[in-house]
């Protein structure tokens, strides 16, 4: 494969490997890692990463049909040859992630990478559906780059599979990076659903930017792995841009979920909303790190952040750390966080409507994944996610 790698890409990835080797992994004292242990973790050391890790078509529109509409969809090396300039631009790490070892690892080592370009004005018919497979216990760096041209519209989902393929006891490391840039007045609806194998430690990084008048919605659902830290960096770049993020995690056993969302508003009249839902049972733990940043230029920002966590056992734990950095008065912001068990009054209310207690409890728990799952773009994706949530009920 390397023989086909253009010199510029070889050089860029080599540079990033150098940066990675010079970076120490963050410690627990660093704000974003207070609740995420990196103990025994080695990133980017695999000399021959698992070649079988892949990103392929999911169950949405056939890739050929998408290409026929004008969608550009290619692996990294093909794109490096065919779309050199736009790929070079798209591969630039935003400043928020420049020093993030997991973002760098994914970019430097990606064994599976996909470049998706939606030409300006194209309203894509059908869902761009990706299925990522993590078949071994090896390190699996992967990369998804999405460029949505001005006025274009697209819906994309990536399902990350691994549950059945990874043998129990085989540790895996998945570093995933999404670089998403949505052009002026474009619309993008994106979804990610994570079902990694039970021993996989996963560090997802996503950069999402919306230009003037663009609308971007991200749904992120996570069920699998032993550890999942998802860092979402959103940025409104032009007036009227709107970014909406909804995250749902459903944890059981000893799983660790850490959702880290930063929303940056640096221009006037933009909006964002972040909803985080977590239901954790067993000894599972969920953390929400919310960071809303409004610069002095971000006047008339309308921003909302809310985290809700449901504890399903005495040993389960949830933390919410919402932070606001607002440098102008002319904004409208709301934020809140709640952590609670299933409420007796909620149960009584549902029971008073004829719903038996066990079903009422199930409705309340499922209510913590449904706000995301119900919006997934394909029926199959919704069914798989509901099944994954249901499979955890025994560990409530």
């Amino acid at each position: 494969m390397n023989s086909a790698r253009p010199a510029w890409l070889e050089s860029e990835q080599g540079r990033l490997k150098g940066v990675l080797s010079s970076l120490a992994l963050p410690g627990r004292k660093e704000e974003g890692y207070r609740y995420t242990s990196l103990k025994d973790l080695q990133v980017g050391v695999a000399q021959a990463p698992a070649a079988s890790g892949s990103i392929g078509p999911g169950e949405g529109a056939a890739w050929e049909a998408l290409r026929a509409q004008g969608v550009y969809l290619a692996d990294l090396l093909t794109a490096a040859r065919e779309r050199t300039d736009s790929l070079r631009e798209a591969l630039k790490l935003p400043r928020q992630l420049e020093k993030d070892p997991f973002a760098i690892a994914a970019l430097a080592n990606a064994t599976a990478a996909l470049f998706v370009q939606i030409p300006a004005g194209l309203k894509v018919d059908g869902v761009v559906s990706l299925k990522s497979l993590h078949p071994t216990g090896a390190e699996f760096p992967r990369l998804v780059i999405l460029d949505v041209g001005a006025g274009a519209e697209v819906e994309l989902i990536e399902e990350q599979m691994g549950e059945e393929q990874v043998a129990a006891g085989a540790d895996g490391l998945a570093c995933g990076l999404w670089l998403v840039r949505v052009g002026e007045n474009a619309k993008a609806r994106l979804s990610s659903v994570q079902y990694w194998g039970q021993n996989t430690r996963s560090f997802e990084r996503r950069y999402l930017s919306a230009a003037k008048g663009a609308e971007l919605r991200l749904l992120d659902a996570a069920f699998g792995g032993s550890q999942w830290q998802c860092r979402l960096e959103t940025e409104c770049l032009g007036e009227g841009a709107r970014i909406e993020v909804k995250v749902a995690v459903r944890g059981s056993g000893a799983q660790r979920f850490d959702t880290w969302v930063s929303a940056l508003h640096g221009v006037p009249r933009t909006s964002s909303s972040v909803e985080h839902w977590a239901a954790v049972g067993g000894r599972a733990k969920s953390t929400f790190n919310g960071n809303l940043v409004i610069t002095p230029e971000g006047v008339q920002t309308d921003a909302f952040q809310k985290s809700r966590s449901l504890l399903l056992s005495r040993e389960a734990e949830a933390n919410a750390v919402p932070k606001l950095e607002i440098a102008t008065d002319d904004v409208k912001c709301a934020h809140g966080a709640s952590v609670s068990p299933v409420g007796d009054d909620q149960l009584f209310y549902l029971e008073s409507r004829g719903i038996p207690r066990a079903e009422a409890e199930r409705m309340i728990i499922d209510g913590f994944t449904e706000p995301v799952v119900s919006l997934l773009p394909t029926e199959g994706a919704r069914e798989r996610a509901m099944k994954a949530a249901a499979s955890k009920r025994g560990d409530a």
């Binding site: 809700r308 008073s352 409507r353 309340i364």
Partner: protein, 258 residues
Amino acid sequence: MATDALFEIQDLHVSVEGKEVLKGVTLNIRPGEVHAIMGRNGSGKTTLSYALMGHPRYQITKGRVLLGGQDLAGLAPDERARRRLFLAFQYPVAVPGVTVANFLRSSIRAVRGDEIPAREVRKLIVAEAQALGIPDSFMSRSLNDGFSGGERKRLETLQMRLLRPRVAVLDETDSGLDIDALRVVSERIESLRSPERGVLLITHYQRMLDYVKPDQVHVFLDGRIVKSGGADLALELEKKGYDWLGVQDAGMGSGART
């Protein structure tokens, strides 16, 4: 005891965390009747409504409640609901993540079973919601989550309409409603009045009774009914307040007239 009563509350004593709150309440509602309970804050009205619906924290220490002649003792709240007892909550509980649509479908299925074909359920919900001025966008919102007081009360009324109870207990359904909403909600309640149904309407104010005419009005003080009368009693209370009753009728005990 009257044998033609649809809903009988007999000498009901209820304790909450060891403290007796209801001290002997007796009330009979015959089919087709609307009874109103009025009383000050803290007099035990909401305790009565929760106890009737079977809230586990509200312990019935004496007395009983019969619906259609059947004792409700030992029945869980969902079983009471399926026997067509309905409680419109004073403070409807928020259930984040459970959409209004999902909740309504589940409760209709639970209470009314196969009475309405599945394909008709949505139509029914839409029609009843429209009549109450509830927009379609409500259906995808989390149940009562972030709703205004008025929105919650409209939704309670919608549920009552959809579940077609034999006996409906409405706990301050008028609070939080502006004048227009009060009229709409009251009309929807009034239109449910039927010879087979009974309504127990708990309220602070006379204003709802302008729309939903009660057959009986009961005054609740300190966990018991201290006076009962016709619709005129509500007007008298509006004029005179409760103090005169506290003095005059405190010794009446549990002997509510029905």
